[in-house]
Amino acid sequence: MAFYLAKRTLSLLLVLFGLAILIFIIARIVPGDPARIALGPLATANQVLEMRHEMGLDKPFIVQLWDYLSGLFRGDLGKSFLTSRPVMQDIVGALPATFELVLFTIILQITISIPLGVIAAIYRDTWVDNISRVISLIGVVTPGFVLAIILQLVASYKFQFFPVTGRLDAGIDYEATYTGLLIIDSLIDGRWDVLGDALRHIILPSIALAAAGIGQVMRITRSSMIEVSGRDFIEASRAYGIPERVVRFRYMLRIACVAPLTILGLEFASLIGNAFIVEFVFSWPGIASYGVRTILEKDLNAVIGVVLVSGVFFVVANLTIDIILGFIDPRNRLREGAEK
């Protein structure tokens, strides 16, 4: 297992390194002089030259790349023109909100879609299955931002069950100091009022984000449960008198959940993409709002930072899923690890 982990982590670092170089190159290929963009159309040619020098743009490309990579290593992503603060500082400030939203969404997806998929498989071709099919279809075809707006209109504006925007009510005075995640930190501090308010704020955006994934993962869970249920060893377990509940959850689900979990990992990329829009709609103070603003302003250092962070998100999420799969299905780690 240790070998398997080491190998996976190593490949993760390689992917991130490649990603960092790729983004840098893309950022340099994009037409337009970053210095000119930063200064605006009214700046004089001299000012631009000065700015180019300050940004290091007059150095050879390979030196720029080196500066960038070594900066990356020290945790320095350069300065944002938009906020005039180090990009790293901006991102660290905005990251917890996004992380909280994405994490909550994933948990929502797993806890809703896998059980629903299992139920649909058990009661396949009955009305239960049909309803779940309709729900999943709606989830898949409705774009996240449409759902976000509908939820805002209905649940927040019309019935006022939930707040329309933001992460916490303005009246609440609370600083998340441990992890930056409001739900966890308020638990640690025992601030139940904050916890309740944070949950009420997070529920709508995460539903809007989770819907597409829930629909898809539910259908995949259903079909892989059905596929596994036809295997010989399932019939064997039943013939030996192992109770149906154990057959379903220990014997079938354990194999059947491999496909949906893998899909969840891959879906993560589109989840991050959707998070940009959903955060914007709900004025969620996360990295997405920052990302959108910097992209529109062509604030290159900040854009690189945001893309890198989403890349890390994606890769780490997939690593986590690989590790989970390694525990679930020993064949994964036996194939890659145990051989000496």
Binding site: D232, R238, R254, L334
Partner: protein, 566 residues
């Protein structure tokens, strides 16, 4: 007659799919006496598996529906029993040995975990309780019974770590864990090599005696029936058509279907054997000279060491024009690798292969090479694309040969004619065809480019015996008409005896013996050949007598053990 442990009478059963009701079992009656070994035989689709499921209670209801009849186990009707009662009997009263040792284990749980669950939940159902230490002792004890001495290691192993023979033994142990009185064996050992199968059958016979079990054997293999049963029921299309003692069924079968089954079993020895001759002139189609194939796998990602597996080791063969040349061997013997090298799908590590007098490396024009040699695969269900019609499947190689669309059309009807399929089949999809018909399409596809040599990779082993013989007849006729040479790869030695004029026996990558088929079968020299031939289940005492003799020491020297860990 002895007291029955299982007594089925008048069982009628139907399946309803898409609103259409089909009766699958018709008035089936069957008895298994205490301590008796009873076989239920029939072709696939005859209803024997459904009968088995009705007994053990794993039928999906619906679509299945029991329309009438009684299944009495130890005097109590299983069908009228409360569900709790019935479940209590699962594994403890009636247990089953699953057919396929590769597919019958949960791949993600250790063997020990799976066995422990079986014991634990049986306890739950019976209302007793043992601690995990006692349960483990029971499991190790049962593994001992099936002659697996390394119980503790097997307990912690995952199924993928064990060989096929060992898994089959563990499957038997699983069935025995809760000390059932009636054991149902579904095609025991038929998924294994014959030498391993023989050991498994021997083990089953011993266990029935030692554990005082009654056995119901479900199989299509008459040779297996002869080795392991006292009484036999024959099933055809859901009807029991004959019931007799083992002796009677083999010596004087009464029902026409039984007789047909008997004659369809190819003989190994005796008058019924067909000797296939080829007037060999020195006109070699294939020459294999000192061919070796090594596969190298890196030991690990970081290491520079390689693990070398020598799949084919210094093989020399000469296949003449018109030969039906059998290459026999068990799984892992290297016969498939050799076949792939003939088709230039693998290149040899060492040595040379000449096809039609020219070295393989000379065929720079692969088009010409593909027209010379073609292959028919084992399983037509997977070698034909399910989404393409017969015409589409046949068009690909014809286009490859440069036929235009009118020529293709006439050639396709010619090809279908050749393999005895009606022309109307051209527009059908594989799922609309039976197994035998699919294999005919696969043969037509191989013949479409007018090859001189066909490699037949187990062309009939996925088919029922009766169908198998018609495909063999077809192949013999085509060889005559088109002047073909066959390379026949198989583990089925009975078939080889009646079909090939020469055979080569492969053993651990090497050819351990080759020659005229008749000589090899009547006077085998190599210990492995003898062990192999003596393991084949046959259907008459005379044949049993004529099998070559092999001592236990010789057997052990050449056969892989199915009891010890690798």
């Amino acid at each position: 007659m002895m007291e029955p442990i299982l007594d089925i009478s008048g069982l009628n059963l139907s399946f309803t799919t898409y609103g259409k009701r089909t009766q699958v079992l018709h008035d089936v009656s069957l008895r298994v006496g205490k301590g008796e070994r009873v076989a239920l035989i029939g072709q696939s689709g005859s209803g024997k598996t459904v009968t088995m499921r009705a007994i053990i209670g794993t039928l999906p209801i619906p679509p299945a529906k029991i329309e009438g009849g009684v299944i009495q186990f130890e005097g109590r009707d299983l069908l009228q029993m409360a569900k709790v009662e019935r479940n209590r009997l699962k594994g403890t009263g009636i247990s089953i040995i699953m057919q396929d040792p590769l597919l019958s284990f949960n791949p993600v749980l250790t063997i020990g975990r799976q066995m422990d669950d079986i014991v634990r939940y049986a306890d739950v159902r019976l209302g007793s309780k043992r601690n995990s230490g006692l349960r483990k002792a029971t499991i190790l004890d049962t593994l001992q019974k099936v002659r697996l001495p390394d119980g503790a290691q097997i307990y912690d192993a995952y199924p993928m770590m064990l060989s096929g023979g060992m898994r089959q033994r563990v499957l038997i142990a699983m069935a025995l864990l809760n000390k059932p009185r009636l054991l149902i064996a579904d095609e025991p050992g038929t998924a294994l090599d014959v030498t391993t199968q023989k050991e498994i059958l021997k083990l089953l016979n011993q266990l029935v005696k030692e554990e005082n079990l009654s056995l119901l054997l479900i199989t299509h293999n008459l040779g297996v029936v002869r080795e392991i049963s006292d009484r036999v029921y024959v099933m055809e299309n859901g009807h029991i058509v004959e019931e007799a003692t083992r002796k009677d069924i083999f010596e004087q079968p009464r029902h026409a279907y039984t007789k047909k089954l008997m004659t369809s079993v190819l003989p190994l020895y005796g008058k019924r054997v067909r000797n296939f001759e080829n007037n060999r002139q020195s006109d070699p189609k294939i020459e294999i000279q000192g061919v070796t194939k090594e596969f190298r796998g890196k030991v690990s990602f970081f290491s520079k060491k390689y693990r070398v597996v020598r799949a084919v080791d210094n093989v020399n063969l000469q296949i003449e024009n018109g030969d039906i040349f059998g290459i026999a061997g068990e799984s892992g013997s290297g016969k498939t690798t050799l076949a792939k090298m003939l088709l230039a799908l693998h290149s040899p590590t060492d040595g040379q292969i000449k096809i039609d007098g020219r070295p393989l490396s000379n065929f720079s024009n692969s088009r010409e090479f593909r027209r010379l040699i073609q292959i028919v695969y084992q399983n037509p269900g997977s070698s034909l694309n399910p989404k393409r019609t017969v015409t589409q499947a046949l068009t690909v190689p014809l286009k490859f040969c440069g036929y235009d669309s009118t020529q293709i059309k006439s050639r396709i009807s010619e090809l279908l004619d050749m393999v005895d399929l009606p022309k109307s089949y051209a527009s059908m999809y594989p799922h609309e065809l039976s197994g035998g018909q699919k294999q005919r399409v696969a043969i037509a596809r191989a013949l479409s480019v007018n090859p001189k040599i066909l490699v037949l990779d187990e062309p009939t082993s996925a088919l029922d015996v009766l169908i198998q013989n018609t495909v063999i007849e077809l192949l013999l006729r085509l060889r005559e008409e088109l002047n073909l040479t066959y390379v026949f790869i198989s583990h089925d030695l009975s078939l080889m005896r009646n079909f090939c004029n020469r055979v080569a026996i492969m053993f651990r990558g090497q050819i351990c013996e080759q020659g005229e088929t008749r000589e090899i079968f009547t006077d085998p020299q190599h210990a492995y050949t003898r062990a192999l031939l003596s393991s084949i289940p046959v259907i008459s005492e005379q044949e049993e007598q004529q099998k070559p003799k092999v001592t236990d020491a010789e057997r052990q020297a050449v056969l892989a053990s199915s009891t010890a860990l690798k």
